[in-house]
């Protein structure tokens, strides 16, 4: 690292525990040891607040021991306002912070003074940042710093990634080179599928069948991390684990919906080595080196090979011991997926979805942040912004549209000439019309898309203990008396008061409503391709016997899905017609496909009633048999569906809401929001519907359509599937349910077809409620 200290950018790739963070600071420490640098020298950026605090402790110890004249401080959302003010007036030599806190710092008018003398920036976990808008925001902030401090050197620290040169281009400034240093990846991981006495069930994601075998592994290891893909699954598994934990092994739970105090308690117990296992989710994917983890268990198919490899790296942080990991498929299909993932890990074949050009909602926020810092020149800002890798291909027209959105709202109807948010001065520079609006902009900096969550508390006379958070949408479906799991305990829903969910302890052993929503990962393209290859094999000698028999039966009564064509099965069952589409495009895309195809079916009189989607297939049920599937899957029709009616779907509205918040059209935080009362807040759906109706070409709708190619809508994966099968659609009419389709009947998350159905449900509910209350309709 010292030899490369003067390179403009360096990307250091090493597995967790390789000491790479300290390596990133070596040139800084060498530089500062002389004691003649005044002011800020090095910025350290981490996606986690906790990591910034941890690195501060780890750095301060050697610096103090060596008696170096270096001041090291962290600055995050948790830092006191007093300390923050002092840091602005008199910055430390090394400042450890997060992308959001950095963006806020750049929004101050005295930013040039704060950052004067800045020499280096160290970006930790850059692989994780690069997958989200937080990374895009960071790179834009760095483009600003680069303009203020032209000699700024960048160091990125990353775990193993599939395409290091792409990550290097992402973090480098403009065309300047970024050297890639890869540390020895260490010995091959020791990874296998967990052997269980009972075979996995046909469907479901709980993996309750594996509890005895998992407990046995926990007993035989010092510390085990038990990863789950969703918070709900982690809760259910933890609950079942405790019911079977006869030896009372100390086991904790950790996920992002739990109250911060509870999470910190688990983390502290872990560091002290008091826990034998922690049931967790992605909340432990990054960050601190924790005690002696000697086993990682992944429950449920890993969905993504790269994430699996990074999780496996959490075991055995000693550099040259192999990491040990076990995969636990939750159902029979996941056995195939786990097999495919094991093959991919051994072949070091990592997956990654290309992220496309830098998102424009983040750019809009960046322009507003820039305006808070003082008047700016549009040409200069455009030059800065295109110096960030993700925005290198941004056209001037796109930039100008974002600037116009920030200034006037960018509407076809020019209504705000007098009241623009940004105004052009006589010299052509842009500035805030009303300097007071800077406060609102600063309060809403950030790109983290927290879904609307409500706090959950024990019901007490004076504010009970906080337990964590649940999604507002889930809370709205609860009626008093419903029971659910949170933090490993069963609670009873009592009431919703002032946006707090009040619950009481429930003595039962089984929650009535087991799951709450939450993001579900979709199986990656690469992993899906490997699964299709496995299915196409003539036999499966390395799969467990029940799974083998199941696949052979499928081949016998129907056929296997193949990589280069699209298998669709049609059969009657239980008085309904069914259509099963094996698209292997991942859960979100298969869900969208379900929406689009049922819409087409409704238009052509096939009377669909509902559908359910998994990572590999969509099962639709209805009244009429489908005899010709090709028109339902015609690419043009699907694309037209996305453009027209899918725009009114709730998923699109959620996508819009996130972008509108990031771009600064609507605000999460307003001063005195509590005082105004809740009737002041209007749903973002209203703005969305208004734009669709009166201004369909508006920038934010354009951004929403682009976002729909990924994420919850994931139309890009449907396009990929259509390209892969190139019109080769095979429809098999069967006498009954096929073996591959059978598990879909047990899947949760069945979607009724929207529209008329909803009004009918509402009418029924209205009649039922009135009758129950003894009222005439």
């Amino acid at each position: 690292m010292l030899a490369r200290a003067d390179d403009p950018a360096t990307l250091l790739i090493a597995p967790t525990g390789g000491g790479k963070t300290l390596a990133g600071f070596l040139p800084t420490l060498a530089d500062l040891a002389t004691g003649d640098h005044a002011g800020l020298h090095t910025l350290y950026i981490s996606p986690l607040k906790a990591l910034a605090a941890d690195i501060r402790r780890n750095l301060t110890t050697p610096v103090t021991e060596m008696g170096l004249p270096i001041r090291i401080e962290d600055r995050t959302g948790d830092t006191s306002s007093h300390t923050k003010r002092r840091q602005r007036a008199d910055p430390p030599h090394i400042l450890l912070t997060t992308p959001e806190s950095l963006a806020l710092l750049t929004s101050y008018e005295d930013a040039p003074r704060i950052f004067a003398g800045l020499k280096r920036v160290v970006i930790d976990e850059v692989h994780a940042l690069a997958e989200s808008k937080r990374g895009d925001q960071l790179m834009l902030a760095l483009s600003r710093l680069q303009a203020l401090c032209p000699g700024l050197r960048r160091v990125g620290l990353s775990a193993t990634v599939e395409d290091p040169p792409a990550l290097a281009r992402y973090m480098a400034h403009g065309n300047s080179p970024c050297e890639i240093l890869s540390a020895d990846p260490g010995p091959e991981p020791d990874i296998a599928m967990l052997a269980t006495a009972e075979p996995p069930p046909w469907a479901g994601g709980g993996a309750a069948y594996a509890i005895p075998a998992v407990l046995d592994q926990v007993r035989r290891h010092k510390t085990t991390l038990i990863f789950h893909n969703t918070r709900a699954q982690a809760e259910i598994f933890f609950h079942n684990l405790w019911l079977a934990n006869d030896d009372a092994l100390p086991i904790g739970i950790h996920h992002g919906s739990l109250d911060r105090v509870q999470r910190e308690r688990v983390e502290a117990a872990m560091v002290r080595g008091e826990l034998r296992a922690v049931v967790c989710t992605g909340s432990l994917d990054l960050g601190l080196d924790w005690g002696d983890v000697d086993l990682v268990i992944q429950v449920g198919a890993p969905k993504n090979v790269k994430r699996l490899v990074q999780r496996i790296g959490r075991a055995n942080h000693r550099y040259n011991a192999p990491s040990k990991a076990l995969l636990v498929p939750a159902n029979r299909f996941e056995v195939v997926e786990c097999r495919a993932a094991l093959d991919a890990v051994r072949a070091r074949d990592l997956d990654g979805e290309a992220r496309g050009p830098g998102p424009r909602d983040v750019l809009c926020q960046h322009i507003l942040i820039r305006a808070c810092a003082g008047p700016f020149n549009a040409d200069a800002l455009f030059a800065e912004v295109t110096g960030a890798g993700a925005y290198a291909t941004l056209s001037r027209a796109e930039f100008d549209a974002c600037l116009d959105f920030c200034a006037t709202g960018g509407y076809a109807l020019r209504a705000y000439d007098q009241w623009q948010r940004l105004q052009q001065r006589a010299d052509g520079d842009w500035q805030l019309r009303d300097p007071r609006s800077a406060r609102l902009i600063r309060m809403n900096i950030g790109t983290i898309q927290d879904t609307d969550t409500l706090k959950v508390r024990m019901r007490r006379a004076r504010g009970g203990k906080p337990l964590g958070e649940i999604e507002e949408g889930f809370a709205a479906t609860l009626t008093p008396g419903d029971t659910f799991l949170i933090g490993g305990q069963i609670v009873r829903f009592e009431s919703l008061r002032e946006m707090v969910v009040e619950v009481s302890r429930d003595p039962g052993r089984k929650p009535k409503i087991a799951t709450y929503m939450g993001t579900k990962f979709a199986t990656s393209t690469q992993l899906s391709a490997r699964i299709l290859q496995i299915l196409a094999a003539p036999d499966w000698p390395d799969l467990p016997e029940p799974v083998r028999d199941w696949l052979h039966l499928q081949r016998h009564v129907s056929q296997m899905p193949e990589p280069d064509s699209l298998l669709i099965e049609s059969f009657g069952h239980d008085g309904r017609e069914h259509l099963c589409i094996y698209g292997f495009a991942g859960r979100n895309a298969m869900q969208t496909l379900g929406l689009l195809v049922t819409k087409r079916m409704e238009e052509t009189g096939l009377a669909p009633l509902g559908f359910v989607a998994t990572d590999y297939a969509t099962l639709i049920w209805g009244l009429e048999p489908v005899t010709d599937a090709a028109p339902l899957l015609a690419p043009d029709a699907l694309r037209a569906g996305l453009d027209s009616w899918l725009m009114s779907n709730a998923v699109m509205k959620r996508t819009f809401r996130a972008s509108a918040m990031i771009a600064g059209l609507i605000q999460r935080n307003t001063p005195g929001a509590r005082k105004n009362g809740r009737q002041a807040t209007m749903s973002s759906d209203i703005l969305y519907d208004t734009l669709v109706k009166y201004d369909p070409a508006h920038l934010l709708l354009d951004i929403t359509r682009q976002e729909a190619m990924r994420g919850l809508v994931d139309f890009g994966r449907i396009e990929e599937m259509l390209t892969r099968v190139a019109g080769r659609v095979t429809l098999r009419r069967l006498a009954r349910v096929s073996p591959l389709a059978a598990p879909l009947f047990l899947e949760a998350g069945r979607m009724p077809v929207e529209g008329a159905a909803q009004e009918r449900l509402l009418a029924e509910e209205s009649a039922r409620l009135l009758a129950a209350a003894g009222l005439a309709p």
């Binding site: 009241w419 948010r421 809740r678 009737q679 749903s683 208004t690 009004e759 449900l761 009418a763 509910e765």
Partner: protein
């Protein structure tokens, strides 16, 4: 006329699916909380410029209700404008549109907390309007009967077989009706808020707006000891 028909103080009224209230015997249409000019007002305050189409949208829906009912009297139940200056800032085309809607009708602006003063548009301006046996005012008063008010933007949410649905709603009991907000850019207050627990009788109904007007018992907050 589709909508939910009910009786208040011996008077037959209809809660229209749009959120307007129709009194057939007097051929009178009542709408509340239009909040015209909200987007522009927000921009004047230095807030983000919202899509400037809400006045157009609100007037379009009002016009369609007027066409369907042929109402001879229109009562705007307060907070018709987002602030006292908003009426003056409306674009000329929208002022003209309002004048066209007013032509040949009796039109009453009841004052609200957002728009307390008179507006420079046609129509009468009143603090409240007694129309025995009913009284029209912006904010409900405890202990009154035969009262028609707005102000709170009531909203209801229901759990429908695992899905949740929320709609602006009329709240109705034997003493009063509280109208949902008619304006396009309006949020709402859940019917289980303490305000409604105090104002509305135990057997109150909520009539949800939307494609059709659906009545349900008013979902209410839990009374605490």
């Amino acid at each position: 006329m589709d909508g939910y028909q009910f009786t208040l103080a011996g008077t037959q009224l209809t809660a229209l699916p749009s959120g307007a209230l129709y009194w057939e015997a007097r051929n009178l249409l009542c709408v509340s909380d239009l909040h015209l000019g909200k987007a522009l007002r927000r921009a004047r305050m230095g807030e983000p410029p919202l899509p400037p189409y809400e006045t157009r949208d609100t007037l379009t829906r009002l016009e369609s209700d007027l066409r369907r009912t042929g109402a001879a009297t229109v009562i705007c139940l307060g907070d018709s404008f987002d602030d006292s200056a908003a009426a003056g800032h409306l674009p000329d085309a929208e002022k003209l549109w309002i004048a066209k809607l007013q032509a040949g009708r009796r039109w009453v602006w009841i004052e609200g907390n957002h728009d307390p003063g008179p507006v420079d548009l046609g129509g009468a301006h009143m603090a409240e309007l007694p129309a025995p046996p009913l009284t029209f005012r912006h904010i409900a008063r405890a202990g009154q009967s035969g009262e028609i008010s707005g102000h709170y933007h009531p909203k209801v949410r229901l759990a429908l077989k695992g899905r949740s649905l929320s709609r602006p709603a009329f709240l109705i009991d034997s003493d009063r009706v509280i109208l949902p907000a008619f304006g396009t850019y309006t949020g709402g207050l859940w019917s289980d808020d303490a305000v409604f627990t105090g104002l509305m009788r135990r057997d109150a109904l909520a009539v949800l707006t939307g494609a059709m007007a659906h009545a349900v018992p008013m979902p209410r907050g839990v009374q605490r000891p």
